[in-house]
């Protein structure tokens, strides 16, 4: 039950994302805190946790904000699963590795999103698509540089046995 901290963190990230993130948008593109968190935890703890966290966060976002439930969840799920599989072969606590994973993960996430939008016959604007994909992947990965060490610390704190009380 200790991982409740992670779930609370994800809920907090979603609330922040929906209310205050629009003030730090660059070129009209907001970073994605949920995606960063899911990729980071999936990288640290493997694909099993990636799947559960992405399902939890994705369904929450879809239920709260999206018209079609599953839009965000399916993209998050695929990215988290792949990250989890690939994480076996890399040095997990390194910020540089996280930087690369978030950069590529954001591109993949947005491509899956575009693909599902194409399936639903959305009328898409190619220049805007490119703008969102590029700006968001750079923005997300730069944020990762600054926050990843805190996520690692939180992760080891959650894992460690030194708890004052058990939830």
């Amino acid at each position: 039950m200790r991982s409740i901290y992670k779930y609370l963190l994800i809920v907090f990230a979603i609330v922040l994302q929906a209310t205050l993130m629009k003030y730090i948008a660059i070129l009209g593109v907001k970073p994605d805190a949920l995606l960063i968190l899911v990729i980071a935890f999936s990288l640290l703890n493997g694909s099993g946790e990636g799947i559960t966290l992405s399902l939890f966060g994705g369904i929450l976002v879809d239920v709260l904000f999206n018209n079609a439930i599953g839009f965000v969840t399916i993209s998050l799920l695929i990215v988290a699963y792949l990250t989890g599989i690939l994480s076996k072969n890399v040095f997990r606590e390194s910020t540089f590795v996280a930087f690369i994973f978030v950069f590529l993960g954001t591109i993949l996430y947005n491509l899956i999103m575009i693909f599902s939008m194409l399936l639903m016959k959305y009328d898409l604007n190619p220049s805007y698509l490119l703008n969102v994909v590029i700006v968001q992947s750079i923005y997300n990965s730069i944020i990762t540089i600054f926050v990843y060490k805190y996520i690692v610390r939180l992760n080891s704190f959650v894992k460690s046995k030194k708890f004052f009380f058990k939830i």
Binding site: V11, I14, V15, L16, Q17, A18, T19, L20, M21, K22, Y23, G28, V29, K30, D32, L34, S47, G48, I51, L55, L60, V61, V63, L64, F65, N66, N67, A68, I69, G70, F71, V72, T73, I74, L77, I78, Y81, M113, S116, M117, M120, Y122, D123, L124, N125, Y128, V132, Q136
Partner: protein
């Protein structure tokens, strides 16, 4: 049996993905009262979001007003001029209204200008992603909100349409979303068209006849041919384009409502047709 089928996790992911795609197909399009579970999730989180959203707004309003201090005097003089001009216009309009009513009586025209009744609402959050322009408001089925009701900003400009309704919250699809389309009318030339979002925060009006005299600055409103009440202001024409080889014109429209700084909206409660 192929090797990858023995990987339980992989099969689990595939099953979940298929389930999600079916969920997507089932829920896409909106216009439904959400299930009690979804409604409860929104009910728990909306008060929290409301607090964050209003804090963010008040901070940004503070900075906006600091920025505006220098230009206040000039703006005030300009507005006073505008008021004088408008009050003159108002007298003229009164004359026209009387004349219009008299002529209507003579021709036995039915009055179809029903007044709209609205319910005020606060915005509690915006879509966290970059792809969709939707937001949530703090009224729901408890306040008589139904799917497909129109949503206006404080000044009465069209902002969007209610898609899903929870117990005390609902989702609104803005007209600038790529998925939205509204039947529209040029007030001056009476040309009909469809207004759609273009994912850049602007609107595209399509299906305008090639011989139309539509030009920059024209006011675009909702037409009587959709479920929206007619005469709601959508925006102004910014640019008219003609596709080579196509028999139709297109126009880029700047929305009249300020989607970046929306805080309060009103929901039209007496629509012609609302969901079920």
């Amino acid at each position: 049996m192929p090797r990858f089928l023995k990987n339980k996790q992989f099969i689990f992911v595939i099953v979940i993905a298929v389930a999600l795609i079916s969920a997507m197909a089932y829920t896409y399009g909106g216009g439904r009262n959400v299930t009690p579970i979804e409604s409860a999730i929104g009910g728990i989180l909306s008060p929290v979001e409301k607090v964050f959203y209003s804090v963010g707004n008040s901070i940004s309003n503070f900075f906006a007003s600091v920025k505006e201090i220098g230009t206040l005097r000039a703006k005030n003089a300009e507005l006073e001029k505008e008021v004088i001009k408008l009050s003159k216009n108002d007298i003229m309009l009164q004359e026209y209204i009387n004349e219009n009513n008299r002529l209507r009586d003579m021709l036995n025209f039915k009055d179809n200008n029903t007044n709209i009744t609205t319910k005020p609402a606060n915005i509690i959050s915006k879509n966290p992603g970059n792809w969709f322009n939707t937001f949530n408001i703090d009224v729901g089925s408890d306040n008589g909100i139904k799917p497909k009701m129109a949503v206006l900003d404080e000044k009465g400009n069209l902002v969007g349409i209610v898609t899903d309704v929870g117990k005390d919250w609902s989702k609104v699809l803005s007209i600038i979303d790529v998925d939205s389309s509204v039947s529209a009318l040029d007030v001056r030339t009476r040309d009909n068209g469809i207004v759609r979002g273009d994912s850049n925060g602007n609107l595209n009006m399509i299906y305008i006849p090639i011989d139309s005299k539509i030009e920059k600055g024209d006011v675009i409103t909702t037409s009587d041919m959709s479920m929206f009440p007619r005469g709601l202001i959508i925006g102004r024409v910014e640019k008219v384009e003609k596709d080579e080889g196509s028999l139709l014109k297109q126009a880029v429209i700047k929305p009249e409502a300020d989607f970046e700084r929306l805080e309060f909206v009103q929901v039209v409660t007496n629509m012609k047709t609302t969901g079920d």
